[in-house]
């Protein structure tokens, strides 16, 4: 396929917009055939996951672009960084890692990005709107933008999202186009009790199941009997993007491009439905935990970053109580949500409980946890999926209230009534 570059693309490529735009466009241009298309299109916004500090190479990349004078061409929110910029000293972050991670943060700030520092940018004032064309990195953000909002982004890798933001251009491929947004697989929920669908613990498990069984496709799920809230849908996105590569799913009657099954398949052929039964969900539920004992060192909440409504749900559970002295209790969120939560009085009960808050980052992207932490509990499918590999810990998945009760007793405990039956 011969590339069809516009005069603007060629100007970028030839360095007429400066050396940083030239480098960014050159990388995009080499990637064009990998996307299987021959032309670029405009974007209106970006979300930059290249902020995650993975080592010297990610810092050097950011600083190379910054030193060439890179500026973003569209409003660009920033994902989490390698450290909590003003709170890393409270944890076990090595000083040299913090210094490098902050250098990387400064490099992206110098490009004119919006300093959101969160993996839930859709829960800030920079939330995109239906149909908007975006280049987003960060797998849960990609899932949320596409599935829950109906904005359009491909799965952009770190390092490429910033190239798109600098040039304002992306390959005209995949999920940006109507054709690429049609469902590929239909699941019909069968015999899933409504009480379970109303429970928070259902959604991360549904996400994990979809990630496992529809891996890189666009799953469509019908048969929901309830209207999940935004945080529940966020949990589906995070689960599906951890266990698999789900960038878009349709929940019939719930998500904006799936009023009907036919809509979810873009008016085209609908494949035969695969039953989604309790047995499937129990299997996914079991997979999210690797621990078999009751030992507990840390409860961690907030992947994706905790929302104000999640703080509202947490506050009554912890008010007037104390966590066990041997268990750490950590919530990760954005600076903006922390500020609002503080303002409306949701943080004081958490502090009295013994809980701590980290912003800008999370334990998966910041080397902040002390070595003694070996047993972790979380209500997040994403924390549950990645912690064993990234942190070398055993993990137990449980709903929010189970996480709080376990933090109080010092032993992992779960009310499994809805799951065992």
């Amino acid at each position: 396929m011969t590339p069809k570059l516009t005069p603007k693309d060629l100007a970028l490529l030839n360095g007429e917009e400066g050396p940083a735009a030239k480098m960014a466009m050159s990388i995009l241009n080499r990637m064009l055939p990998v996307f299987g298309v021959n032309r670029f299109m405009d974007i209106e916004a970006a979300h930059i996951d290249s902020t995650v500090y993975m080592g010297v190479a990610t810092m050097e990349y950011a600083e190379r672009l910054a030193s060439l004078g890179a500026k973003v061409a569209v409003p660009s929110t920033l994902n989490v960084a390698g450290v909590d910029e003003h709170g890393w000293q409270d944890w076990d972050v090595p000083g040299d890692v913090a210094a490098n991670a902050i250098r990387q943060m400064k490099a992206y700030e110098s490009m004119g990005c919006i300093q959101t520092w969160t993996c839930a940018p859709y829960q800030t004032e920079h939330r995109p709107h239906f149909g908007q064309q975006i280049a987003a990195g960060e797998s849960n953000v990609i899932g949320f933008y596409n599935s829950v909002i109906g904005a359009r982004t491909e799965r952009y890798p770190d390092l490429l999202d910033i190239c798109a933001a600098i040039t304002g251009r992306v390959p005209a491929a995949g999920l940006h186009l109507d054709e690429g947004r049609k469902g590929t697989k239909l699941f019909r929920m069968t015999g899933i009790p409504k009480a379970l669908q109303e429970d928070d613990s259902f959604y991360p498990v549904l996400g994990h199941f979809l990630g496992r069984k529809a891996s890189d496709g666009i799953p469509v799920v019908e048969g929901m009997e309830v209207s999940p809230n935004e945080d529940q849908l966020k949990a589906v996105c995070a689960g599906g993007a951890s266990a698999g590569a789900i960038a878009l799913f349709h929940l019939v009657g719930v998500t904006p491009e799936a009023a009907t099954v036919s809509d979810a398949f873009g008016g085209g052929a609908v494949p035969p439905a695969v039953p989604l039964v309790m047995e499937d969900l129990r299997e996914a539920y079991a997979e999210l935990s690797t621990a078999d004992g009751q030992e507990l060192d840390l409860v961690v909440l907030g992947s994706p970053h905790f929302s104000i409504n999640e703080f509202k749900a947490l506050a009554p559970l912890v008010t007037g109580r104390k966590k066990h002295p041997d268990v750490d209790f950590l919530v990760t969120c954005s600076r903006a949500v922390r500020m609002i939560a503080e303002h409306v009085g949701l943080l004081e009960p958490l502090r009295q409980f013994g809980g701590r808050i980290t912003v800008d980052t999370c334990p998966l992207t910041s080397p902040m946890l002390p070595d003694r932490i070996k047993h972790l509990m979380t209500n997040s499918a994403k924390y549950a999926y990645y912690s064993p590999g990234l942190l070398g810990v055993d993990v137990t998945y449980g709903r929010l209230s189970d996480c709080v009760e376990s933090a109080v007793s010092g032993r992992v405990g779960r009310d499994e009534g809805l799951w065992v039956l």
């Binding site: 480098m23 993975m54 266990a243 590569a245 998966l364």
Partner: protein, 128 residues
């Protein structure tokens, strides 16, 4: 992504997220739910259908290139943007791009671990 590479294969039909799945300091596969968990893929021809999950897979692969523990080359069953970008940026930043070959699903399934393999400059995979 063109280039030359040679090494022993390390193969799985299960996709991998490099973030949380690949130790950028040693080249070990560390996703404890993955069939290749515990294997060291530095210097080998890593055979995976595609990358799953995290957007950070590219960054991890770039870090492993800088640390000298990247696979010598990769074979996938489809074009994978995350892996291809790591090769492009490794070339841009460190003049160290590596070959990635997308083969047909049928061809992919015939590759097992432990074979001696070469990726040629013209994009062929030769198994001994």
């Amino acid at each position: 992504m063109a280039g030359l590479a040679e090494g022993r294969t390390l193969a799985s039909s299960e996709p991998l997220s490099f973030w949380g799945g690949y130790d950028q300091k040693t080249g070990e596969i560390i996703d404890r739910r993955h069939p290749l968990s515990g294997e060291i893929s530095a210097g080998r021809i890593l055979v995976l259908p595609y990358t799953r999950g995290s957007s950070t897979s590219t960054a991890i692969l770039l870090e492993s290139v800088r640390a000298g523990v990247a696979p010598a080359g990769l074979v996938t069953d489809r074009a994978d943007v995350f892996l291809a970008l790591a090769s492009v940026v490794a070339g841009e930043m460190y003049e160290a791009s590596f070959p990635i070959l997308a083969v047909s699903r049928e061809g992919f399934e015939t590759i097992s671990s432990g074979s001696h393999a070469r990726i040629t400059e013209d994009g062929r995979l030769i198994l001994d």
